[in-house]
């Protein structure tokens, strides 16, 4: 059974690559990345040998725990349940849950990343063991630790697979991704601010927290290499088996549990819509405002923008490289504005396959211009208050409240510039957002290049056009901020005109580009 699943997994990987150059390139990159991670991880782990034994042990325990966390959270980030690993696809075959668990375990061992992890763990055996018995115990501990990572990861994805298949669950998880990414910045920030004092104390503090978790016990066993170590790997082995049992139970339940996606609530009727002007402009604004709230991709982008600007606010001020003067107040809001504006660099992507509804109505360049104006108005309605909050916070943080004015004006102007540039990239380099959100790619298969060129082009164009107004403000000529908004509005207007001219001529192409199967 196990061998069958391994072959199935290999066949799926091969089938996925057949005839698609972009995917082949992507897979080669994955292989290279995995190989680098394996070799680099192995080398770094073995280098622990050079550290004092107690520091090496602490580091080993923390790193083992970290590896486990990566295994548990990683698959959730890609929402990845590939065909071998999604129990729903196997539910119809006459397999017992135990057979399925064995098979799925075998399938999850197959692949570049488990191999890379094993190599890293073997590096830890080199780095941590202090005796021959340590090496022997270490080999067992490494294999058990890998098994623990895989089974823990499987338990979590299987338990959540019901949720992952519903729309609501995926929406929630998408927002969770932003949190996870922002959270990874926290240790960085803390260290930057000098919280925790001596790094070695910090490390041993962390190590004492994770000490009795199975990964840390595996690491400790390698370093110990004696009877205590044997006892520890025995415990880890028992935990792996127990977790396997939990997995089988969860699997059994997941196969027969009803899909809960049909139980859905209603949305409230918006009272705000009544205030918007009638006609196409109001219609587009109303739709866009709803999408900001309801589309997880949109929410992700907004949260990331605000979160990132917040982090920047802290990190710019601290440390030896901290900014001085007005720039300290202006930069966070400007980064927020840039990140919000860049989301508009593929405006039609969010409509995706529904874009035909607009296309069968629009019969002149003016219609398309109105569409863009509606989108820009909607973004501005939400963004400007956010930028105001960011500006106030940053000005207070910088210790000089009057800086709130240049911060708000500059960032609002920058937002308009980004929107204008984004309108043009939207029609020149349109691409499809994949149906399943994941944290690593933002385009349908084969459109990664277009997506990259689009966002990079938008960033470059915006930065270049923003230099005349943003740079003087950064350098302290705060009065230039007064020009930022009119200048930004002019760029946005020109961008909409140009985009409508190009876009209307190639409306059917646009439609195809954002409706690719994904």
């Amino acid at each position: 059974m196990a061998w069958l699943f391994v072959r199935l997994k290999l066949r799926l990987i091969a089938g996925n690559l057949r005839g698609d150059v972009m995917r082949q390139v992507g897979f080669v990159f994955t292989l290279i990345a995995a190989a680098l991670a394996a070799c680099g991880g192995f080398a770094l782990m073995s280098l622990l040998r050079l550290a004092p034994p107690d520091v090496a042990l602490d580091a080993g325990m923390v790193l083992f725990t970290l590896l486990t966390l990566i295994w548990v959270i990683g698959p959730l980030l890609v929402f990845g349940v590939d065909e071998t690993l999604d129990p729903a696809r196997l539910a119809l075959f006459p397999l017992t849950a135990r057979q399925m668990a064995t098979g799925m375990f075998a399938a999850s061992v197959t692949g570049p990343w488990p191999l890379a992890s094993l190599l890293v763990l073997l590096g830890a055996v080199v780095g941590l063991s202090r005796s021959l018995t340590g090496v022997l115990v270490g080999l067992v501990a490494a294999v058990l630790q890998l098994a623990f990572c895989l089974v823990a990861s499987r338990v979590v994805t299987t338990a959540l697979s019901g949720v992952l298949r519903t729309r609501r669950g995926r929406d929630l998880l998408a927002v969770g991704v932003v949190f996870v990414i922002l959270l990874t910045q926290v240790p960085n920030l803390l260290l930057n601010q000098g919280v925790g004092g001596d790094p070695r104390v910090f490390l041993s503090g962390l190590a004492s927290i994770v000490r009795w978790g199975p990964p840390a016990m595996a690491a400790h066993a390698i370093a110990d290499g004696a009877l205590a170590g044997l006892a520890e790997i025995a415990v880890v082995g028992v935990v792996v088996l127990a977790l396997g049992d939990v997995w089988i139970a969860v699997l059994r339940r997941a196969m027969v549990r009803a899909d809960s996606s049909t139980q859905v609530g209603s949305v409230r009727r918006s009272r705000f819509d009544g205030l918007l002007p009638a006609g196409p402009l109001g219609a587009v604004v109303a739709k866009e405002l709803k999408y900001v709230r309801r589309e997880p991709r949109g929410r992700m982008g907004w949260m990331a923008a605000v979160g990132f600007a917040g982090i920047l606010m802290f990190s710019l001020s601290g440390g030896p490289n901290g900014l001085e003067g007005a720039a300290l107040a202006v930069a966070p809001a400007c980064i927020g504005a840039l990140m919000i504006g860049l989301q508009a660099s593929n405006a039609f992507g969010i409509d995706g396959r529904a874009l035909w509804m607009n296309a069968i109505v629009y019969s002149s360049q003016r219609d398309l211009r109105t569409d863009f104006a509606g989108r820009h108005l909607a973004v501005s309605l939400v963004a400007v208050p956010l930028l105001a909050v960011l500006s106030i916070a940053a000005a207070l943080f910088a210790g000089y409240p009057p800086w709130v004015l240049p911060a708000l004006l500059t960032s609002a102007g920058l937002l308009q510039i980004a929107l204008g540039v984004g309108a043009v990239t939207s029609v020149v380099l349109p691409y499809t957002y994949p149906e399943r959100i994941n944290a690593f790619t933002s385009a349908a298969p084969g459109q990664g290049g277009v997506a990259f060129a689009g966002s990079f082009g938008a960033m470059l164009g915006t930065s270049l056009l923003a230099v005349p107004v943003v740079l003087p403000v950064f350098l302290g000529l705060t009065w230039v901020a007064l020009l930022a908004v009119p200048y930004g509005l002019a760029v946005a207007f020109a961008g909409r005109r140009l985009a409508a001219m190009i876009g209307y001529a190639r409306l059917p192409d646009l439609l195809t580009a954002v409706s690719r199967p994904s």
Partner: protein, 269 residues
């Protein structure tokens, strides 16, 4: 978008007697010719069916007629006006339900209708009233405030049709409107469409379900391998046979079910 058909089905564009006429319509995707010179004709006021096997080019043809796909060659006239030369006149007077169920997923059913109406410049109150009536007829009032992403296939087809009818078009193009629709919803769709054509408006729809085409349509166009192989009033196209038999004759039945599979079924000994 200043004009919209506000009242009854009075034809705004006078002229030809045909609602749709294509001339040598041609489209190629890479090596594959999807539509190879199609001359589709649909008389005004007819309930027309476009039938043919999978891959015959029905969807591609409909996409080119409705201005969603640029033809490589040939021309399309709707009510005597060239679709690609004068899109304003055409787009205001046609309604479309394309293949797949491509809708704005994150709007509720009611919001979707409102959006469509306002995009076409229909006054707000008028849109609200029409939307309410359409939701009622389509039996969607209970789900009007749920997001389209959570709709079932039948509900999506119904809300799509409602959106296509909202501006009271003169010609309605529907690509596989009954695919995956439960019998109750299908019945609703049929009733609405029959009421619509009885006022003199035109419906063009593609389908695999021959019985349905036979029951509803008075005009049939049969496509195969990118060509129109037969076209005319239903009675002429099918002759003395059922439409299904006529189609199999026209397309060339691919009967290869006799050999092999001898093990299949329980009665074989």
């Amino acid at each position: 978008m200043t004009s919209f058909a506000a009242g009854g089905g009075s034809p705004v564009i006078a002229g030809s007697a045909e609602a749709v006429r294509t001339h040598k319509l041609y489209k190629r995707f890479g090596q594959q010719v999807a539509v190879a010179g199609v001359d589709l004709v649909v008389p005004r006021g007819s309930f027309a069916g476009l039938v043919g096997p999978n891959g015959a080019g029905k969807t591609t043809t409909l996409s080119m007629i409705t201005g969603l796909l640029l033809p490589d060659a040939g021309s399309v006239e709707v009510n005597g006006v060239d679709v690609w030369r004068d899109p304003v006149a055409v787009k205001a007077h046609v309604g479309v339900l394309p293949e797949g169920l491509r809708l704005f997923e994150r709007l509720s059913g009611r919001e979707l209708l409102t959006y469509n109406g306002q995009l076409r410049g229909i006054p707000k109150d008028e849109v609200a009233q029409r939307a309410e009536e359409l939701l009622k007829v389509m039996d969607l009032t209970g789900s009007a405030d749920k997001l389209v992403v959570d709709y079932s296939t039948g509900m999506r087809k119904k809300i799509g049709l409602a959106a296509a009818l909202l501006h009271n078009p003169e010609v309605l193009f529907l690509d596989e409107p009954f695919e995956g629709v439960d019998p109750i919803s299908a019945n609703t769709l049929v009733e609405v469409l029959q009421r619509y054509t009885s006022s003199g408006s035109t419906v063009v729809f593609s389908s695999h379900v021959m019985e349905l085409v036979e029951r509803l349509c008075d005009w049939v166009s049969v496509m195969n391998l990118g060509h129109i192989v037969a076209q005319g009033p239903l009675s002429e196209v099918r002759g003395d046979h059922t439409l299904n038999e006529a189609l199999l004759d026209l397309v060339g039945a691919r009967g290869n079910g006799e050999e092999g599979l001898s093990w299949l079924g329980s009665a074989r000994a």
